[in-house]
Point group: C2
Chain length 302, copies 2
């Protein structure tokens, strides 16, 4: 746990109340930093907290990546690996972490120079991969991911100082309106929700599986007021489409009874100026597969 | 159980395989029967199995009906009533049956002459109320309703001879794209899916609560082939909008983590020429709140 002399602008999980705090940091850190987004793109990102890309992956990347995912999900060697998280109800694969380390195919996507350039442009510095994961969301039995801000978890449990991180969600299957796509409250990234409760030991073992985690999620009244204020936008698009989003976006996704899996690959880029410290509100750090401690700037594989 | 000499065109739950059977009966029984739907409306209903109405309920009906529902859900007298079914995870109200008998307000809506006229026009006869229910689907914790054909259940467990019944789903809250609206496979009403397995005793006590009931639902391969063939259409509309749909439509709905409840009132009209017999594939009949045995033609309250 962090020394108490440090001023924490995002204090969370330290009381019995859920509180909204205005974001203390920029969203786009250095608008003059070069990159693929236009000035209007950056203004919209600053405003909404996300940016959609229609055709981020090629047809062959989608196919090879999806095959890799099936291979990993069915790999005998990985059956009891903690990086594979399963659906509580059906035992089907829910999430695979460290996919960029488990697969060369995913590694080459994660290191694509254009994705890194997007991340650098938003963050205004070099960046490294903080986490990668595949949310499989199988058909028929896919469970929901309840509302949360990634940054709230990464700050409390992994010691990430500020929301100077960006995720890219890459659709490996079509994200329809009906198969549990990513829902974001647009504009919510400018409000930090300090959550009630305390972080139990080894909390990640529950929180990654449970439909409604015990802590690290806003209460009903706060979520209602934010949804009323910001609305709810669902990311819909073909396989290969992508959403770049701020680490403090309030987001979640519904379950999926349709026959169509909604499988998305997430790569999280953190600024090299935002490297992890001690957890701000948890008894101990989480494993490396959830939060990397190698802060070396990523070099694009040109 | 039905005597084995009866020819059953919709034999179900009598083997270990799930089988598709072509519908043996009309969808619109007597197209010349007078009523509010136009000839093109009837052709579309015949084709897709449902018909949407934008403003079926007035603002005051929506408000009074919604208030009634809250009153019933919180009524001390009804806390242990079998007609109130609760969410397994949160204990919140999931479904209330017999709402047209529990509430004068709902009764007057259920008996609206225009709704009865729609039902009569589709069924080609007089009609009576076979069942009424409110699916509350609360915000944050609302569970899914897995894929099923109502008629498959009503035939197997309640002894309804043919799919000569029609439901009207009335939205008491907005049905958004993201709060678990009714999904129908358009055209699926012309295929009867005979389901695998047998009906356990008192099966309704499980099937009304479980996210994926043990029997009375198609297997994954059958659902996938039907969704591929027919597509999936989600019913979206403001409070007060309605969907009239055939009793053999394959339908279901996802769970709901949004703050917004998706509460719909369902009134089921059955043809007076289709009154219930013995169950076709269950050890005994279900209670009256699930399947009425008073087949008296409904008289509209003009």
């Amino acid at each position: 746990m962090h020394a108490s002399t440090v001023v924490d602008n995002y204090a969370t999980r330290n009381g019995d109340k859920c509180t909204k705090i205005a974001r203390h940091d920029p969203v786009v850190w250095r608008p003059e930093y070069p990159g693929p987004l236009t000035a209007p793109d950056l203004v919209r990102y600053e405003d909404k907290g996300f940016h959609n890309i229609h055709d981020a992956l090629s047809v062959s990347e989608i196919a090879s990546c999806y095959n890799e995912i099936s291979r990993l999900a069915n790999s005998v060697d990985l059956q009891d690996d903690p990086r594979i998280v399963r659906e509580k109800s059906s035992g089907e694969v829910r999430t695979i972490f460290d996919v960029h380390l488990l697969s060369e195919v995913v590694a080459s996507i994660a290191r694509r120079p254009d994705f890194l350039a997007l991340a650098r442009q938003i963050l205004g510095t070099n960046a490294y991969i903080h986490q990668s994961r595949l949310n499989f969301k199988p058909g028929f039995t896919g469970g929901p991911f309840y509302w949360h801000s990634d940054f709230e978890t990464w700050h409390a449990e992994d010691g990430m100082p500020t929301p100077r991180a960006v995720s890219i969600s890459l659709a490996l299957t079509p994200n329809y309106e009906v198969n549990g796509g990513l829902m974001i409250l647009p504009g919510s990234h400018r409000t930090f929700v300090a959550c009630a409760g305390e972080t139990p030991s080894d909390y990640y073992k529950q929180s990654l599986v449970n439909d409604i985690p015990e802590t690290g999620t806003p209460d009903h009244a706060t979520l209602t007021s934010m949804a009323d204020e910001f609305g709810i936008e669902q990311m819909v698009g073909p396989a290969g489409s992508a959403t770049l989003f701020d680490s403090n976006c309030m987001h979640g996704s519904n379950g999926n009874i349709t026959p169509y899996a909604r499988s998305n690959l997430f790569i999280v880029f953190n600024s090299v100026d935002n490297s992890l410290e001690e957890p701000f509100s948890a008894p101990s750090s989480r494993p490396e597969f959830l939060a990397k401690h190698d802060f070396t700037a990523l070099q694009p594989a040109f």
